[in-house]
């Protein structure tokens, strides 16, 4: 079988696409998106802004961007991919604009991994409660550059490498390497935390 699409195949695919989004307005798509991914958007905003007012502003910015973006939603990707792309791109843009973030030096996962040993020793024999674990997780995430932050957040949301690659635009092989690093960093930094961390 040839992989080349015939005009007919293409028309069928386009038809399927339009059937998948049957004339939904931006309002309807927005409501669907919030219903399915609202809590993840909230957690994303928390990961970017520690201050509750700034977090609310960012969350509103994400919701507004999402609603506006649906005017151009053509179902070439899934609704979930679209929602995560809009949310993460809005948040990355927010970081670039933020004066506080500009004054802090954001680092990569690789740099954090290099510094890993020191922090791990502090926690080696301590068990951490849930809130402290989350606090430390937020502190770790907020030090990361936008792209690595996205990878770790999507990983924590339970997404696989293929989906993370689709959202970020990095090759899935490289995402897998990044996830490996994320796991190593989390394992080292939160060695004992997990046993007390059951929700």
């Amino acid at each position: 079988m040839s992989d080349i699409l015939t005009v007919n195949d293409y028309l069928i695919q386009e038809r399927i696409r339009t059937m998948l989004v049957p004339d939904k307005s931006s309002d309807d798509l927005y409501q669907d998106a919030v219903l399915a991914h609202g809590p993840a958007l909230d957690r994303l905003a928390r990961a970017y802004e520690a201050n509750s007012e700034d977090r609310r502003d960012l969350l509103q910015e994400i919701h507004l961007a999402l609603w506006r973006s649906f005017a151009g939603f053509d179902a070439r990707c899934s609704l979930r991919t679209w929602v995560y792309r809009v949310a993460h791109n809005t948040a990355a843009s927010h970081i670039l604009r933020s004066r506080r973030a500009k004054s802090n030096t954001l680092v990569s996962l690789e740099e954090i991994e290099e510094q890993g040993g020191i922090a791990a020793k502090d926690d080696a024999n301590r068990s951490l409660d849930r809130s402290l674990l989350l606090e430390r997780l937020f502190a770790l995430i907020q030090r990361l550059n936008p792209l690595d932050r996205q990878v770790i957040l999507l990983y924590l949301e339970g997404m696989d490498a293929a989906f993370i690659a689709e959202v970020t635009g990095i090759s899935s092989g490289y995402v897998a390497t990044k996830i490996h690093r994320v796991k190593a960093i989390l394992a080292e930094r939160f060695r004992n935390g997990g046993s007390h961390g059951q929700p």
């Binding site: 919030v34 507004l64 973006s69 843009s93 936008p146 989906f163 990095i170 490289y174 997990g194």
Partner: protein
């Protein structure tokens, strides 16, 4: 997509955070959108009013006041620079509307591409033609006006003001150029890292 690490308690902890449901009604969204557009228009208007106001005042001084030729030349150069700045801001706003961060672009671009566009924009702001041309446009007019002050009012507070302003311009400009150049290099490094990332094979 299910969590592929069911035993990973950090993922469970992360996903188990209590979140207050947040949703904006269509009316709220439209209202917010209106507010945002209003703010953007207001911000643009302030810049245009400043530029046009200065152009109007300086044109009045040149045409209606008995000012010496040196000062008139200086003011004329400032007027041209202000017109140039207003034009650049207008072009920048328009180009952003066409290609940059439209709402749909947020969902169509992967994070790497989107982030790269943002970084390139920031880098160009600090290094590119925008930054240099703004500085070079404003500098000659201001220097001519300062020199006029020095020549016209020797050993007078106004003359000293001219000296101070010339010295500040001559000191601050290289410093500003150096700072912006450094900043642009920082953005360039991030852009290079993203480009390298895109070349990693599957």
């Amino acid at each position: 997509m299910a969590n592929h690490n069911p035993h990973d308690q950090l993922c469970s902890l992360w996903q188990g955070q209590t979140v207050a449901p947040f949703q904006m009604s269509p009316d709220e969204l439209r209202q917010k959108m209106k507010q945002l557009n209003k703010q953007l228009k207001m911000r643009d208007s302030i810049v245009y009013v400043i530029c046009l106001g200065e152009i109007a005042i300086f044109t009045f001084v040149i045409l209606a006041m008995p000012a010496p030729a040196t000062l008139k030349i200086g003011l004329l150069l400032v007027i041209l620079a202000m017109g140039f700045l207003a034009g650049q801001i207008w072009l920048d706003r328009n180009s952003r509307k066409v290609s940059g961060t439209t709402a749909a672009a947020l969902g169509k671009a992967g994070s790497v591409d989107f982030y790269r566009v943002e970084l390139v924009r920031q880098r160009n702001f600090h290094r590119g033609v925008w930054f240099w041309s703004r500085l070079m446009a404003l500098l000659p007019g201001l220097l001519v006006c300062d020199i006029w002050l020095i020549v016209r009012y020797p050993r007078h507070p106004m003359g000293y003001l001219g000296y101070a302003m010339t010295a500040s311009l001559l000191l601050l400009c290289p410093w500003a150029v150096w700072l912006n150049w450094k900043k642009s290099l920082c953005y360039q490094r991030q852009i290079d890292a993203l480009d390298a990332l895109k070349q990693v094979p599957e």
